[in-house]
């Protein structure tokens, strides 16, 4: 079984190589965030009730070939201290040392170096760092390319569930999950603008 599979793969590779060689090479794209038209939200369970907050300040860069994120590189940096749940007292609590500890860890970071095409869109796999703790994380997303005013833009959306305790967001009393749920859904709707080069 090994040999035919290998031959098949080799044939496919040669064929693909031939096709790629004959097609015009797609340009490298460098997408950056249109912050005004993008949102990054997190939905959590507080005392059994669902509630949503947002991170108003973050940056995103996506480097890929043409308008295809597969095989590209995605980097997201979030200003955690700017978090906004619509309640000042709660925001202060979230910034405190037992939760996000923003004085020591002002930023969260996601660097995906493996982006693959999936049935429903794409999946970015990489290192997510929150509160100084890094974990391998997969983030499924959709990507749609458009041309607006002659410029290439990309619409990217997706969500993933992050377990806050995996990152130490919740020390002391906050390790309990009955009042503040462990699972937090992070959702994003992004508008990216491209500077093809």
């Amino acid at each position: 079984m090994r040999k035919p599979t290998f031959s098949l793969a080799l044939a496919a590779a040669l064929l693909a190589g031939g096709v790629l060689a004959s097609a015009p090479a797609a340009a490298a794209s460098h997408y950056t965030l249109d912050a005004a038209k993008s949102t990054l939200e997190f939905t959590f369970l507080q005392a059994g009730a669902k509630d949503t907050g947002r991170f108003p300040r973050f940056t995103v860069t996506l480097d890929c070939t043409g308008a295809d994120p597969a095989g590209g590189r995605l980097e997201v940096t979030v200003d955690v201290a700017a978090l906004d749940t619509g309640d000042q007292e709660r925001d202060e609590t979230l910034r405190s040392d037992d939760l996000f500890a923003v004085a020591k860890f002002p930023q969260a970071h996601f660097l995906a170096t493996r982006i693959v095409k999936t049935a429903g869109g794409y999946e970015a796999e990489g290192a997510l760092t929150i509160r100084g703790v890094t974990r391998e994380t997969r983030v499924p997303f959709t990507f749609r390319e458009a041309t607006e005013g002659g410029a290439a833009v990309g619409y990217m959306a997706g969500k993933t569930v992050v377990r806050r305790l995996d990152f130490g967001v919740g020390q002391g009393d906050w390790k309990a999950t009955d009042q503040a749920g462990n699972e937090v859904t992070v959702a994003f709707t992004l508008r990216l603008t491209s500077a093809a080069h």
């Binding site: 005392a47 009730a49 619509g86 609590t93 009955d178």
Partner: protein, 183 residues
Amino acid sequence: MALRNTTRRWGVVAQTFHWIIVALIITQVTLAEMADDLPAGVRKLSLLARHKSVGITILGLVVLRLAWRWMNQHPPLPQTLKPYEQALARFTHVALYVLLFLVPLTGWTFSSARGFPVSWFGFFQLPDLVPKSRPLYDALMDAHHVLAWTLVGVAVLHAAAALKHHFWHKDDVLKRMLPFTRT
């Protein structure tokens, strides 16, 4: 002892509603006072979550209790009462029922205005009654406090009156709401 009310005493159902709600109101005041003394944190969240759940329970029980009251006869006020005393007694009872609605409702509403939705013991989440608004939250929270302490005041008056009937007038007004007694 009968489930339904008679002309002489309150039935088991009405008594159960009455005494459970008494116990829950005491629970509510205790939880609220304990939470007030705490800084923002898990303990406070936990106490307030329970306070909200118990409050919604009271609201539900009061609806059922009034429905039961309308489906039943109830023992009349003693004939020995002067007309103004009867009027006062009626007013007190109406006030208690109205407050038993208003206190949980203002609590639920100010939670909505704050943007902290109410969950009933984590089993289900109640809809928000008003959109998020800080001024509305402040006003409703003040109203909740005033109404809650008014409820406690009227309830104390109500209990004092029942004791006065029992020990002073030596009638059966208190006994007909007590289980395991004869009237």
